[in-house]
Symmetry: C2
């Protein structure tokens, strides 16, 4: 029995239980607006999407959910976003129990951390920091929203949900049309982009930055993880913005002022890397832009963040490995450190599994949607990448898909959020050390 | 100077020189039928396609090329297919020079071999075996074709070209419509499938099988390479056949007799893994089938064969690694041997590079073909996979693409044939051993 409950399995079970809990809460009549009924399937899809902080929907949240329903939704986003295990830790601490090794291990695994020491402190720190950021974000957006909404209650309700949706990168909205009403309000967009960054850059990064400011050390040593993920995150953000601008220059952006082009490019590059909020109807973009955005959704955000995808570090290790391999070197050096071979191995697993899963899902959905005239191949590729990268951007076809396709998307959102490493480890029976060895024999590759 | 001419670079230069040589030969008026003119671009594309044994064309070979042109084309396929370095070796041997270490290294690298000893013997063996198989194939098909063609000359001309095209997996045809005229002649299809197998299964496998029959040892030790690649090749062949049948059952196959369904499934599963000959118009297949076939083209054939793609062993190592990783094991065992970590590393490089290249190419071509109404996304995905996997199957849009897209396809065919490992190594300046080490630091992946 003990062997069956490995840390990875417990995490997966926690996610599954949360999904079922919230699916039932969202299914209850009290969660719906008068006269609206959700099928269990709709409630389940919404719950999977919320707990995996994806944001794809088959119901119109603003038209279907009551205030109670929206609060359940926000809770699901919080539980899924800041991490089931982080919340678990808080509960453990509230009950005053000393965290033992096996629970530490559990947390370490969920946040994919390697250092044991100070883990409890780290978890509490992450939780407090996340809540603080969300609170400040809600305050800023809510106060600013006073000009847009009739009552202060409405303004802070909308502002809080937007801040939560942005920081947890969950991409849900209660405006009914994402951030499109704020398409020319650059202040809102700037705050939202900032919140998206803070959620997607990785909790360890936030903790280190906080420590940097607290200690005021002149030579604070940021971890290799922080250096790699921050550099990669912003490098791809810039590439993404320039790429979208180049592809839509003269197309969708034709005739727009420079600042509109700048903000559309910037906002889309930020949101496509896991957030899922939008300031325009992405289905208006051209085919190459949608393909380019699909690849950005596949890349996603930092590990140990609210974002999904194959993650920044995986992509960084891939390119660094290709470069050092082409140069005939065995070691991968970056920022005065070497990448551990095991991490290279993990990056390989993640990329292989992700690409295989993505391609299989696209093929299966295209088979299930034979004869569905409202769905093109690019829609399937876009929605699939969006689900697996837990991004939530959509060309608008999710609701038109069949139940079979909805199950495929739910599976992708789930695995995308749990993380491929955790998912792969969850199937293993126990730590197995090989008791025997075979001779090694070379084979020809590629 | 010596450092600049690494073995990998010499191979690439040989391919480049062959391509230019044959592009000029195919451009000459003597290569064209009366009244037909090829632009240099058309000749270049044909040459790249032939030397890389791909088979994509922007000209109708049977209508444009004279007998001289067809002979040049066949020579280009032979040079590219059986291996520039194998031919090089033959030339060296004809001149009676003893092959020195650096030339041996060159051959080893081209055929991606690890064992030095007996390399020359192996090369001569491969060459003779290849020519023998082609000769027997030409004889069988030519003789059988006597019933179809008016003169014996025509029959053997057509039969020889078909045998060469099948064995080198180059996919060119001089019938004007591939093997569609033989769609209900299962004897021709059976012989062609056999020739495709022999070319795509890998030269080392053929040599070992020959040795097995010569030595008549009861316990002949086949190499790990042979076991892995033969198993994977036929396993995916069966999966491919069943997959195509499942996806087209009730669609394209609707109303066909069981034997027609069987042969269409089998032939397509065989041809899609690098051969490129066809017995039907693949554009008639449904979207999921075309996606499934694209993934089979990406997988391709064995290394050290006439086929392309990421190759069987790469796929096998990927799945075996995923399995052993999920089971928590560090070593990858198969057939009583362990996979060398360096080969795992190579598989990672090949997959990463291939997927990145493929996605970039699809996006770039879709940007170049904006407004080209005759091209759908699935066509772009299919042609791109076909070019990179040097398969040559086509939904028929290659000729409709712009010059920019043609250059992208040529680059893919070239890299696909040269092999990603060789391509990556060709950019390196010299074997570099790191003179310094950094401390290793773990980062979070996926
Ligand atoms: K999201
Ligand atoms: K081919």
């Amino acid at each position: 029995m003990k062997n069956l409950l490995t840390p990875f399995r417990m995490i997966i079970i926690s996610y599954v239980l949360s999904i079922f809990l919230f699916s039932i809460l969202l299914w209850l009549p009290v969660s719906h607006k008068p006269g609206i009924d959700l099928t269990y399937m709709e409630a389940l899809f919404t719950s999977v999407s919320a707990v995996s902080v994806t944001g794809l929907t088959i119901v119109n949240v603003s038209e279907s959910l009551s205030v109670t329903g929206v609060i359940f939704l926000a809770l699901a986003m919080q539980v899924g976003g800041i991490g089931i295990m982080t919340l678990g830790t808080l509960v453990w601490m509230l009950f005053g129990r000393k965290i033992n090794l096996s629970q530490r291990l559990l947390i370490m695994v969920d946040q994919n951390q390697y250092q044991f020491s100070g883990m409890v402190k780290l978890m509490r720190g992450i939780m407090l920091l996340a809540l603080a950021i969300e609170f400040v974000g809600a305050l800023i957006l809510g106060t600013y929203y006073l000009q847009y909404f009739e009552t202060a209650g409405d303004a802070y309700y909308q502002g809080s949900f937007a801040a939560l949706s942005a920081f947890t990168n969950s991409g849900f909205d209660i405006t009914g049309q994402s951030l499109i009403p704020f398409a020319s309000d650059y202040y809102v967009q700037f705050i939202v982009i900032l919140l998206i960054f803070l959620g997607a850059i990785g909790f360890p990064v936030l903790m280190e930055v906080r420590e940097y400011f607290i200690t005021k050390e002149r030579h604070y040593n940021f971890s290799l993880f922080t250096k790699v993920t921050v550099t990669t995150y912003f490098f791809i953000f810039i590439i993404g913005g320039i790429g979208i601008w180049l592809l839509e220059n003269g197309m969708y952006f034709d005739g727009l002022a420079w600042h509109q082009q700048l903000f559309y490019s910037m906002f889309n590059s930020a949101t496509v890397r896991s957030a899922g909020l939008s300031t325009l109807d992405v289905s208006e973009f051209t085919l190459p832009t949608l393909l380019f955005m699909s690849s950005l959704m596949v890349i996603g955000a930092s590990p140990s963040s609210v974002g999904g995808g194959i993650r920044t570090t995986t992509v960084a290790v891939m390119f660094l490995s290709l470069k050092s391999f082409a140069l005939g070197k065995n070691d991968v050096k970056v920022f005065g450190r070497e990448i551990d071979p095991e991490d290279k191995q993990k990056a390989f697993m993640v990329i292989s599994f992700f690409i295989f899963g993505l391609f299989t899902a696209v093929t299966v959905i295209s088979a299930l949607e034979q004869g569905n005239q409202s769905v093109d191949l690019i829609d399937i590729i876009f929605e699939t990448s969006s689900a697996f990268g837990t991004c939530g951007l959509s060309t608008g076809v999710t609701a038109n898909l069949s139940t079979g396709s909805h199950f495929v998307l739910m599976a992708l959102m789930f695995i995308g959020r749990v993380g491929i490493i955790a998912f792969l480890f969850s199937v293993k029976r126990k730590d197995t050390e090989s008791h025997y060895r075979y001779p090694t024999e070379r084979i020809i590759i590629g």
